[in-house]
């Protein structure tokens, strides 16, 4: 297996690990991009191929191909924000977010879904966004070709297959997932970095291509502040991070560019803009952060599930994403099952927890991703800064969301029993293993809908720098350009004005491609 970037660097590509610097340093480029994930790296490739000088900054470290170890105790601290222990302010929702070269694309589960029509309709009504499935289609196609996104032709693993079986028995909608893979060996370790370069993350696609075209990559660097005056950003100040990815203060890196693209993810991007105190007349900067808060349901089967093995996500169900009533919708998927991920999420204590863990290979898990942000009672969270300027998301959970949590527990239990589960365990502190759908239904209706009782997690952070045609309703315009600062763009999940009701990577790729094309026209 080849380490594409390391080989390129050996052959002369421009790369710097900022933590090795011993003195301040200044850089100049046409475009500086903060963040090497789905938005930033997609833009970096297009800009570099257009002949512009690009510097791509990443807070995480450079790990690729052969570096990846298939152990969570290595992967989480090395590749995820806060060692995969990121939480909302009150610690009620866990957040999985990549922090490594390639961003979350390095560790995601490869699910690639175009933006749902109804989500675009909502943006058109609320934010005057003239996006349609038709006018975005060329950008979706471009991303799909670039990253070899295609329906997964291999039979689903048992964990996904139970989701399919349950849907078939109940007559519920389900879809075979499209994945961004090439030469995938169906290993199941996407979440710890693909060890065989099969996942078409930014790490093996746009980043090497941008570097080949002359872009410079700087890892282990934290962007701290955009210096601006009037309507122009004048420079970006950054610092190296230490071995634990904490920003340091001894050395400063400063960057001057014609244009600045912020793509540090939906927590990092609003945080950088908040630290920089950029103009915010709409009052929406760092507001309306969406998480697809996810509810979890475990089930025990007689047969072996071994949910650690095989493509982690290959089936989803949209049966409940767009309910007719005044209820929050949710998407049904499954997560990969690895020991730490399971042990930390499963309920029970001492013997009861140990007993569940001993049935690890019989365990099947479904998750329901709540489609937050389409309702007055789901306005999302807020990115706040600590005294040292580090971000945290305050995400209140309204009764409207809690009702969705209960509905999701019910749907998942019904599905798991329909698929043949022996018993079902809603992941809630007060829930037990239930042996029939009738028993589970009664028990779930009585579960207290409270934080810390229900285990909630998020793998999709969106919003905080929302797009809107009108400056009064958003932070950036429909091209991702900041409404007030002329040479500043935001190109990542933070521009989304609601959650998506679908996994976000393909939406972010398409919007980044669309907006980069417009930006190139201006800069060339």
């Amino acid at each position: 297996m080849r380490n594409l970037i390391a080989e390129g660097v050996a052959a002369g590509w421009s790369y710097l690990d900022a933590s090795t610097l011993t003195a301040d340093k200044q850089f100049e480029a046409d475009v500086v991009i903060v963040g090497s994930g789905a938005g930033g790296a997609m833009a970096a490739e297009q800009l570099s191929l257009a002949g512009l000088k690009v510097i791509l900054l990443e807070m995480g470290a450079l790990y690729e191909g052969k570096d990846f170890k298939q152990q969570e105790r290595w992967a989480y601290p090395a590749l995820y924000q806060d060692g995969a222990g990121r939480k909302t302010l009150d610690q009620s929702i866990g957040i999985l977010q990549g922090r490594t070269v390639g961003g979350s694309t390095t560790v995601n589960w490869t699910t690639s879904i175009r933006t749902p029509e109804k989500t675009l309709d909502y943006w058109r009504t609320e934010f005057d966004a003239d996006f349609t499935s038709e006018n975005l289609a060329p950008y979706f196609q471009q991303a799909e070709q670039r990253l070899n996104i295609h329906p997964w032709p291999v039979p689903p693993n048992a964990n996904n297959n139970k989701l399919r079986q349950g849907c078939e028995v109940l007559g519920w909608q389900y879809t075979v997932i499209k994945r961004n893979v090439n030469g995938c060996a169906n290993l199941g370790y996407c979440g710890m970095g693909c060890p065989i370069n099969a996942k078409q993350s930014m790490l093996v696609s746009t980043i090497p291509s941008a570097m080949q075209a002359g872009a410079m990559l700087i890892s282990r660097v934290s962007a701290r502040e955009l210096k601006w005056q009037n309507d122009q950003v004048q420079s970006l100040v950054a610092v190296p991070v230490d071995q634990y990815y904490q920003p340091t203060s001894k050395i400063k890196l400063s960057f001057k560019a014609r244009h600045y693209i912020v793509a540090a993810g939906a927590i990092g991007s609003p945080a950088l803009l908040l630290r920089s105190k950029v103009p915010d007349p709409s009052g929406r900067l760092g507001k309306h952060t969406f998480l697809h808060p996810s509810v979890i349901s475990g089930a025990l089967f007689e047969e072996t599930i071994a949910g650690h093995s095989g493509a982690p996500q290959s089936i989803y169900s949209d049966q409940f994403v767009w309910p007719a009533a005044e209820q929050i919708g949710f998407k049904l998927e499954v997560p990969p099952l690895h020991p730490v991920l399971m042990a930390t999420k499963l309920t029970g204590l001492a013997q009861s927890h140990a007993a569940l863990m001993q049935q690890f290979n019989q365990l099947q898990v479904v998750i329901a991703l709540l489609r937050d942000g389409f309702h007055p009672d789901s306005q999302g969270g807020t990115v706040l800064l600590s005294d040292s300027g580090e971000p945290v998301v305050d995400y209140p959970i309204s009764d409207y969301l809690w009702q969705g949590v209960q509905n999701a527990y019910l749907a998942m239990a019904e599905l798991q029993f329909a698929a043949g589960a022996k018993s079902v365990l809603p992941i809630h502190q007060d829930a037990l293993l239930y042996s029939s759908w009738r028993q589970a239904r009664e028990a779930i209706r009585a579960l207290p809908l409270q934080k810390y009782r229900a285990t909630l997690a998020s793998a999709h952070v969106m919003g905080g720098c929302n797009l809107s045609a009108k400056a009064a309703r958003g932070v950036v315009n429909l091209q991702g350009r900041h409404h007030q600062l002329e040479n500043l763009s935001v190109f990542d999940g933070s521009v989304l004005p609601s959650s998506l009701g679908a996994n976000p990577q393909l939406t972010i790729y398409a919007l980044a491609l669309r907006n980069t094309a417009a930006l190139i026209n201006i800069l060339k």
Partner: protein, 165 residues
């Protein structure tokens, strides 16, 4: 006598000569690092009941490795969260010390596991959001640290593959 035993003997002796609340004045005997170690050492055997190896030496090693893994992992959390955790460990330490002294145990190690579990469950069901947070946070840290270690996967019938050994 190790440091932990020393601390508890000092506290207990102090208590004998004063009211119960005097205990709080002696928290300074223990540095903040020590609070984390003390709380983890007290809770790990309870939280991991049923999962630990049965052999005594292996069990001791497993507990130590899990505690160290928790402490190592904490360095990756944001600074303010680390500070909150340290404060939390101090608070939890007070709870544990009070429990030990109430039962007149001279060492925390003598505190029955069932009582440690009851204490944890009382945090889970506490009126105070901080203690409910503490319960879920500690639980996650401990199980994450324990099941991150390959030697604990035996009962799971799981082995991590090595694609790039």
């Amino acid at each position: 006598m190790n440091r932990r035993q020393f601390i508890f003997r000092s506290l207990a002796l102090t208590l004998a000569a004063s009211t119960g609340y005097t205990v709080y004045q002696y928290q300074s005997l223990q540095g903040s690092d020590n609070a984390a170690v003390l709380v983890l050492d007290a809770l790990l055997p309870a939280v991991l009941m049923g999962a630990l190896p049965s052999d005594a030496a292996a069990q001791q090693l497993s507990l130590q490795q899990s505690r160290d893994a928790v402490l190592e992992f904490m360095a990756y959390l944001p600074q303010n969260q680390q500070q909150q955790l340290q404060q939390l460990f101090q608070l939890l330490q007070q709870d544990l010390v009070r429990l030990a002294l109430t039962g007149q145990w001279l060492q925390l190690a003598d505190l029955p596991l069932s009582q440690r579990l009851d204490l944890l469950l009382s945090w889970r069901d506490s009126y105070f959001a901080l203690l409910r947070q503490a319960f879920s946070g500690l639980r996650e840290l401990i199980y994450g640290a324990f099941y991150g270690q390959p030697e604990h996967w035996l009962h799971l019938n799981y082995r991590a593959p090595e694609f790039n050994p």
